[in-house]
Symmetry: C2
Subunit: 111 residues, 2 copies
DNA sequence: TTGTTATATTGCAATATTACGATGAATCAA
DNA sequence: TTGATTCATCGTAATATTGCAATATAACAA
């Protein structure tokens, strides 16, 4: 049905999935990487950097903004975006504890 | 258009996005967590554990299997699934280096 | 063989996502 | 004011995802 049954999962599972969804698209990965690289905020240079239409980039930025991962302030005619370090760290914590689950099945990989 | 323009992104960006997509849905998060918890492989008990139809669980398992994150072997009438430690570690490496990008914007959060 | 159990696959419906052109709103320069 | 620039939003089209019922397949037990 295309609709996720989030009610049947825990808050943690839903949060984890939401964070993962943030960079489950290469364009958003590229945006975040560029924001990290240029540290000082970036605006529409993303449109040149990434080969997507301005409307498309704006849409991806909106998703990242909604999650709180980035923030933007109007700077004259342009908008300056940058990483929100607080939320990024929070995400890192949530995802790391998931990724670092023990894989120590010794050698007896059962399957 | 619903179709991702993966050609315009690097192999790394696409791979990162693919790994992230693996657990961008709470059901797949729950499946992976359960597989970690029960270590010894698990089959259709996932259907009881998670409140989704058998067909739906099977579909999610297929996606995880396609990515290589899990593997399954036929065990009589049932199928035993477990984490593929090698691929999991590979994913951990890829995602960690992305997550651990420096947030040291000092305090001058530009935006 | 027949029935049972466990899983995969198929087909379908509902919703979500990706992408872009066109348009709107805001700011600044002349 | 007018025009140019930058970004957001709207509308739309194409495709993807999620979910399930029904059915198929495979292995075993009797």
């Amino acid at each position: 049905m295309g609709i996720t049954k989030s009610e049947i999962f825990t808050v943690e599972q839903n949060q984890l999935a939401q964070f993962a969804k943030a960079f489950s698209h290469p364009a958003r990965v590229a945006i975040l990487q560029y924001l990290f690289k240029t540290k000082s905020c970036v605006c529409g240079s993303l449109v040149d950097e990434i080969g997507l239409a301005q409307a498309t980039i704006s849409q991806h930025l909106k998703e990242l903004k909604n999650l709180g991962l980035i923030q933007g302030t109007v700077e004259g005619t342009s908008v300056c975006y940058c990483i929100n370090p607080t939320v990024w760290e929070e995400m890192k914590t949530v995802l790391s504890s998931f990724l670092n689950q023990d894989t120590d099945v010794a050698d007896d990989t059962c399957c």
